[in-house]
């Protein structure tokens, strides 16, 4: 039994235990009861219960024998579709044991696959459709090619609502003997942005400091986890210190292993707190959007970020 990591300890193992997503749970449960599920696509933000629900389906179908009949893959970890196909092939080669005539493959973060790779996946799904059901998960269903979407029953997961988050926190608090202040719940909810995993992690990290969970303590933990130094990067740039600025940026990106897109997100938020004219804020936001666009198109995010910093240097001179 998992004890040390709360996201696992408190992961629901039956339909009954799931908090939120009521509609989806009802429909998926009905499908599972019929013992014949279609391929399914679980779309929605991180930490809203996609993997958990897939796991519950499997437990429900196979009971004790779920391990032999369930393969879990993460598309963003596997090096290329070849590897995915290889694993699927090996898994699907043998027939399932027991009364359910198929096995289940859960492919997490399927939107990490390129459209070409998804085409290959589609063929794999077809080849093994007699012996396997696929449950795909993704953040955005728009990134999944149409032929796959049309072969799946699509379920759209929503961010957790405040009442759901509250319910989860209270349950854990009771079990772990924590004293969670009402304001702390607010901070946890805002900090986790509807992401249940993030919420529980944040709660556990805070609880590892003290069982008395106050709003201040949660905020401290929360801010230590954010790339707050982005502000320093922008300050350097606005002061015309381009080289210090880009050096600091590289430093942050490497140390905290954050992607170019994450940096863009942080910069975009930071702009509103900068001591510059409103027109310049708009201009800088436009530049930031352009940089994000070029990161997607280009090959080297750091070059795009440097170009953006150069715009901030100009803004600092009052020229843009």
């Amino acid at each position: 039994m998992a004890e040390g990591i709360w996201t696992e300890k408190y992961r629901p193992v039956s339909f009954l235990e799931v908090v939120g997503q009521e509609e989806i749970v009802k429909r998926v449960k009905a499908l599972t009861n019929s013992m014949n599920i279609p391929h399914m696509l679980f779309a929605g933000p991180a930490g809203t219960g996609k993997s958990t629900l897939a796991f519950i389906v499997v437990r429900d179908l196979y009971g004790e024998n779920w391990r032999e009949n369930y393969l879990e893959l993460n598309a963003s970890d596997e090096r290329g579709i070849q590897i995915v196909r290889e694993k699927v092939k090996n898994f699907a080669r043998t027939k399932s044991l027991g009364e359910v005539p198929f096995k289940v493959i859960f492919l997490d973060e399927a939107d990490a696959l390129t459209p070409e790779a998804q085409q290959a996946l589609r063929r794999t799904m077809e080849n093994y459709s007699s012996t396997c059901r696929f449950i795909l998960s993704c953040n955005y269903s728009s990134k999944i090619i149409d032929p796959i979407q049309s072969r799946c029953a699509i379920f759209r997961f929503k961010l957790l609502e405040k009442k759901d988050v509250e319910k989860i926190i209270n349950k854990i608090a009771e079990n772990e003997k924590l004293n969670v202040k009402t304001e702390a719940i607010n901070v946890l909810y805002e900090g986790c942005e509807g992401d249940c995993r993030k919420c529980i992690n944040l709660l556990q990290a805070t609880a590892s400091v003290s069982p008395l969970i106050s709003a201040e303590l949660v905020s401290t933990i929360l801010s230590s986890a954010k790339p707050k130094d982005i502000k320093i990067v922008l300050d350097y740039a606005l002061a015309g210190e381009f080289e210090s600025s880009r050096e600091k940026l590289l430093d942050i990106m490497l140390k905290e292993s954050i992607s170019g897109q994450d940096v863009i997100k942080a910069i975009q938020k930071e702009i509103w707190a900068l001591p510059v004219e409103p027109t310049i804020k708009v201009k800088l936001t436009e530049k930031t959007g352009e940089a994000e666009f070029r990161i997607v198109e280009g090959s080297d995010p750091f070059i795009q970020l440097q170009a953006l910093l150069a715009s901030f240097v100009l803004a600092g001179l009052g020229k843009e």
Partner: protein, 394 residues
């Protein structure tokens, strides 16, 4: 003696553009026998790119003995046993450590009566010495098992500029001369096959041995410093477009030099303009990769040369001052950081597997995960080893 043999590189430093493959193969050899490492390394890449050479250079640099087999040895089990048994089981006579090299595995048949490939897999599973396998094409279905049982390392395709400079080097050592145009033609025609290109110049130079103009005089390579000076300090001219053609460096690397040095030459608006062009060049580079549409290279080159040169204020007095250009260090920093974060990666990997999330997400959430994993119970659950625990606790 064929020049291709005579001038075969002996040192890592002589293998141009293969840093990644070198790093991987060295790591593989050094980590051999550690619990998680695979016992064979599958070195693949286009013909003549230097796969066998890399194996021999590795042996030379690390002072290993090489024991070479090729596909034809896998035609009969008796023959294979006869050759191999002493090699796998005994210490080598000279007490050097050993590498087993299986060259050109493409030639092994999957279906002959003897079953060469299963035999090879068996060999991999039972060897006491690192096995290096070379192959041109590894995506054939028959290599499925081989791929899962080996670590795969791809050798990069070699571009024609690199080949050309290699050829010039060899000609210089041989005291032979081939005119620039023919040389370029040979380099381009070789399509990355270094061996073929060297064979070509050996033939070519034999034909025209009466011409004896030393190559060194003809060699008008401007180095990167001079070309950066032309771009940054000179007025943009049509010749500026060709300034990087003669630099013995790939455009990707030139780009890093430009990136590093823009701030030492341009300030304010000039800086912003130059970086905007660098950024546009990178966008085209991305499009080339994604669409394999090589004509976009043209735009990349124009932005980097003329474009960056034209970013300076036209009314600015042209300083002819001397600037020491700095060597780009970003790639090195990334590499060093990767070394540093290896522990973090291995922890994140275990955590990710245990909690059913992607490794990348685990890396992103590491600041919070780190706090949670200070709990000994959690450490035990995801089976961290002592080193990883030490890393978390410090």
């Amino acid at each position: 003696m064929p020049w291709a043999e005579k001038h075969r590189p002996k040192l890592f430093s002589e293998l141009k553009g293969q840093e990644e493959a070198i790093r991987k193969i060295v790591d593989f050899t050094k980590n051999f026998n550690s619990e998680k490492s695979k016992k064979a390394l599958l070195l693949h890449g286009a013909p003549g790119v230097g796969k066998t050479t890399l194996a021999y250079v590795l042996a030379n640099e690390l002072n290993f003995e090489i024991f070479e087999l090729n596909a034809s040895d896998f035609r009969s089990r008796e023959k294979l046993n006869e050759i191999l048994r002493p090699a796998i089981e005994q210490q080598s006579f000279s007490k050097k450590s050993k590498i087993i090299l299986i060259d050109e595995v493409d030639g092994i048949s999957a279906y002959n009566d003897f079953g060469g490939l299963p035999e090879l897999i068996y060999l991999i599973k039972n060897t006491n010495y690192p096995i290096i396998i070379t192959a041109n094409q590894i995506w054939d279905r028959k290599f499925n098992d081989l791929r899962t049982n080996s670590e795969m390392v791809k050798m990069k395709d070699v571009d024609y500029k690199t080949i050309k400079s290699l050829l010039i080097d060899i000609l210089r050592k041989e005291g032979k001369f081939i005119d620039e145009k023919t040389l370029t033609e040979i380099a381009v025609k070789s399509r990355g096959d270094i061996r073929a290109a060297i064979n070509d110049i050996q033939t070519e130079s034999g034909v025209k041995s009466e011409e004896k103009i030393p190559i060194a005089e003809r060699n008008k390579e401007t180095d990167i410093f001079n070309s950066l000076k032309v771009v940054f300090k000179g007025n943009p001219k049509n010749e500026t477009l060709e300034v990087f053609d003669s630099v013995n460096m790939e455009l990707d690397e030139i780009m890093l030099w430009i990136e590093k040095n823009i701030p030492s030459e341009y300030k304010g608006e000039e800086l912003a303009r130059a970086f905007d062009l660098l950024s546009r060049a990178d966008v085209f580079k991305g499009r080339i990769y994604k669409q394999q549409y090589w004509r976009f290279l043209l735009y990349e080159n124009i932005f980097l040369s003329y474009g960056i040169s034209a970013s300076k204020n036209p009314r600015r007095v042209q300083g002819n001052g001397f600037t020491t250009y700095k060597r780009p260090d970003r790639i090195l920093k990334i590499w060093m950081n990767n070394k540093r974060t290896e522990k973090q990666k291995s922890i994140a990997k275990k955590y990710a597997k245990y909690t059913h999330i992607g490794e990348k997400r685990a890396m992103r959430d590491f600041p919070v995960i780190k706090v949670i994993l200070k709990n000994p119970e959690a450490q035990k659950e995801i089976k961290l080893n002592e080193e990883e625990i030490e890393y978390l606790m410090k």
